[in-house]
């Protein structure tokens, strides 16, 4: 039989999702609470919209000078006694990290879409390492052998009953579909891993080039532990996360969590170098309580090329707050199946320009209604429909 085309396969995938009542129920609940939480957060912090406008300008400028900012950040990190690298391609990034890690290691990982993008976990597992995703949603996804269905809530499509079933299988116990019990179970399963791990891994939400400080936004506390307890911390950061100053990074971070529906998250970790102390005779010694080594890998992989496109470059402004997805009528019934490595309009741009998969990009691009509600939500005013129409033009061979 003839192999199904990418479009047919993709169409079947999204239609299966659209017919899955559980996906619909899980998402309609999530959308409702997202809207009311965000509304509440924006009312409590009415300056957010103004700050978002500033962030748009910061991103516009930064995306045009990613190469310069990456070099500057590398210098800053090195002078903080960390190690910094610029990976031209995703293969380069996997090689750099692969060599740093080696084989037979235990790794605890914070959630990272950039890691997902290049298949980092799979790569490290193939090399004979044991990798634990520590974000609860991502842990569920890993154990299900599935892929994330939302940027900030990867397991958004999995209801509690399914999680109980999964965790019962892992622990060999009969666990009830009670959310608190399930959260406690994940804590119990992962607790020791942080302290046994050889390496902790993370991404970053934003990084200041001048100081080399990365910002990690979270609520669970897994990132604090994963980047704090093991002796080595490796961070993989897409170059689009670079901004010039520490002040700029603060603004980007605040706008990110606000539009991700939080008044303020429980934790924001700022990391600029390895752990050190000068408490004995003022002699600087590395690896006090935190990691002795910090490695930061900046990933280009087509980003500087994408930055040159007048319309599609907007995809690089994305703060990954996930707000647009809650406003997308297609996403509301298909979740992350409407996308590739990233979702909806940004996902289509990424598929076409970073992954060079024009067939997949076409399938995703023609799933967009061009209704424009994503743009209304976006803190940095990314014009989803304009990007989609531009992609279609590209697909039609008219660019």
């Amino acid at each position: 039989m003839k192999k199904m085309s990418t479009f047919s396969e993709y169409r079947k995938e999204i239609m299966d999702a659209a017919h899955n009542e559980r996906v619909g129920i899980a998402l309609s609940r999530a959308i409702k609470s997202y809207r009311s939480n965000t509304d509440n957060a924006l009312k409590k912090f009415p300056d957010s919209a103004k700050m978002a406008e500033e962030v748009r300008q910061i991103k516009e400028k930064s995306i045009g000078e990613m190469e310069k900012l990456a070099e500057q950040a590398c210098e800053a990190i090195e002078s903080n006694k960390g190690k910094a690298y610029i990976a031209k391609t995703s293969a380069d990034a996997l090689n750099i990290i692969g060599e740093l890690v080696g084989t037979g290691k235990l790794i605890v990982k914070g959630k990272s879409m950039t890691g997902e993008e290049i298949g980092l976990r799979e790569h490290l597992e193939e090399k004979g390492n044991e990798v634990y995703e520590t974000d609860l949603g991502e842990f569920i996804i890993q154990k299900l052998g599935s892929k994330p269905m939302h940027i900030t809530s990867p397991a958004i499509h999995v209801p509690r009953e399914d999680v109980a079933q999964l965790f019962s299988k892992i622990t060999g116990e009969q666990l009830p579909p009670d959310i608190e019990t399930l959260v406690a179970t994940a804590r119990r399963l992962l607790r020791d891993k942080y302290f046994e791990a050889d390496i902790g891994m993370s991404g970053a939400n934003v990084i200041s080039a001048q100081t080399g400080t990365m910002f990690l936004i979270e609520n669970e506390g897994n990132i604090r532990l994963a980047t704090g307890a093991p002796p080595v911390h490796i961070a993989l950061i897409g170059m689009e996360k670079l901004v010039p100053s520490f002040g700029d990074a603060c603004k980007v971070a605040e706008v990110t969590w606000r539009y991700a529906n939080y008044t303020v998250p429980s934790y924001v970790s700022l990391i600029s170098g390895p752990s050190k102390t000068g408490d004995i005779e003022k002699v600087t010694t590395y690896g006090a309580h935190g990691p002795k080594e910090l490695h930061v890998i900046f990933l280009n992989d087509g980003r500087t090329e994408l930055a040159k496109h007048p319309v599609l470059r907007q995809a690089l402004y994305c703060l990954r707050c996930g707000g647009c997805l809650y406003e997308c009528p297609v996403f509301a019934v298909t979740a992350g199946h409407f996308g590739d490595k990233y979702f909806s309009a940004n996902g289509a741009v990424w598929a076409a320009t970073i992954s060079h998969n024009l067939e997949k990009a076409a399938a995703v691009a023609y799933t967009c209604l061009t209704c424009g509600r994503c743009k209304v939500r976006c803190p940095v005013d990314i014009d989803g429909p304009a990007m989609i129409i531009n992609l279609r033009k590209m697909i039609a061979g008219q660019e």
């Binding site: 199904m4 085309s5 479009f7 047919s8 169409r11 079947k12 999204i14 239609m15 659209a18 809207r35 406003e327 009528p329 297609v330 509301a332 019934v333 298909t334 024009l358 067939e359 076409a362 399938a363 023609y366 799933t367 967009c368 209604l369 061009t370 209704c371 424009g372 509600r373 743009k375 209304v376 129409i389 992609l391 279609r392 033009k393 590209m394 697909i395 039609a396 061979g397 008219q398």
Partner: protein
């Protein structure tokens, strides 16, 4: 279109694009088939101000039948894994689209043109002097832009502009949101010195209505569905609400979260309904549910695509107690024209 384009463009879209390019309407209907709604209205064909009817309302009964057919096929095995254009499908299963248009009853055809007749009567009632180009009316070609055929759109835009200019048109009153946006905002991108004044029907109505007393024939609870192209593209959010609020007998109720610039798309946009007919239907049901939560007796909107989608949503939800009306019909009823 070259082969690569046809390969990557989903089935359905290239068919509609070819229709626009060769037949000057989305459906590939014969020339003149659309202008029938205006027979007997005695609108002058030449005027400095013209009413632009567009494809959507004129062919709405054809579109409804076509969509219901496509949806049936989409749910069956035929549509699920054989990607092919509608033209190919037509050949394979022997559906005669052209014949199907002819079979639509005269009564349905009449109903299809009703919002246009009402709009004309409203404008006349407000004392506005205008004409209608009938079968000389060019196709705005908007769909070509949305599906990525900008070269063809540019060509169509220049032809369209020339047709207007040659018949001495200076002002256009649009009614289909998508056509109006295309004429007002997209055409100028392709034409140097574009000098047509394009307004939407609602803007003209609001200017003309003044302190005229408007009364709906009965006391009703109405909710308003914002078409994407009208709210987020043309920016007409307050205008329809102002009009509805000024009509005695109408109580306007809004859905929570999803009105104005936050309104949810009906599921038919930019050719989406032709590529994903079944998904489009699911989205129409979702949007209809949001609107029904308001407890309204009538859902008012102002776009032929939205009307078709919401009607279908109501049909699936078996809510024949709720009516869908076009805003032009509502205004005509309230003016008694």
């Amino acid at each position: 279109m070259d082969k690569k384009t046809k390969d990557l463009m989903p089935p359905g879209l290239s068919y509609m694009a070819d229709n626009i390019i060769t037949k000057h309407n989305i459906l590939g209907a014969a020339r003149g088939a659309g202008a029938k709604w205006a027979e007997g209205l005695n609108l002058p064909r030449q005027s400095e101000t013209v009413f632009f009817a567009g494809c959507g309302y004129q062919f709405s009964s054809d579109l409804e039948s076509l969509m219901s057919l496509i949806r049936k096929m989409d749910k069956s095995a035929i549509g699920s894994d054989i990607p092919m254009g509608l033209a190919g499908l037509q050949k394979k299963i022997g559906v005669d689209f052209a014949g199907m248009y002819r079979k639509i009853s005269a009564r349905d055809k009449d109903k299809a043109g009703q919002p246009l007749k009402d709009a004309v009567n409203v404008l006349r009632g407000l004392g506005i002097d205008f004409g209608y180009m009938a079968d000389d009316e060019p196709c705005c070609g908007g769909l070509l832009h949305y599906i990525g055929l900008q070269n063809e759109f540019g060509q169509n835009a220049r032809n369209t502009y020339e047709i207007f200019k040659n018949s001495g048109v200076k002002r256009i009153i649009g009614i289909v949101p998508s056509c109006t946006y295309t004429l007002r905002d997209l055409l100028p991108l392709y034409i140097d010195g574009f000098d047509l004044e394009v307004k939407h029907f609602l803007e003209v109505v609001l200017e003309g209505i003044g302190s005229r007393e408007l009364r709906f024939p009965r006391q009703v609870k109405v909710t308003y569905h914002d078409p994407c192209q009208l709210s987020r593209y043309l920016g007409l959010i307050e205008e329809p609400r102002q009009i509805l609020r000024s009509i005695k007998g109408i109580e306007l109720v809004e859905p929570e979260w999803t009105s104005g610039e936050w309104s949810t798309c009906c599921g038919g946009g930019g050719g989406f309904e032709a590529v994903f007919p079944e998904l489009s239907e699911i989205l129409s049901v979702n949007r209809t549910k949001e609107l029904l939560e308001t407890g309204a007796d009538i859902i008012v909107t102002h776009c032929p695509g939205c009307i078709m989608q919401i009607k279908n949503g109501l049909k699936i939800l078996k809510r024949d107690d709720v009516e869908v009306l076009d805003l032009a019909q509502v205004v005509a009823m309230a003016m008694g024209v």
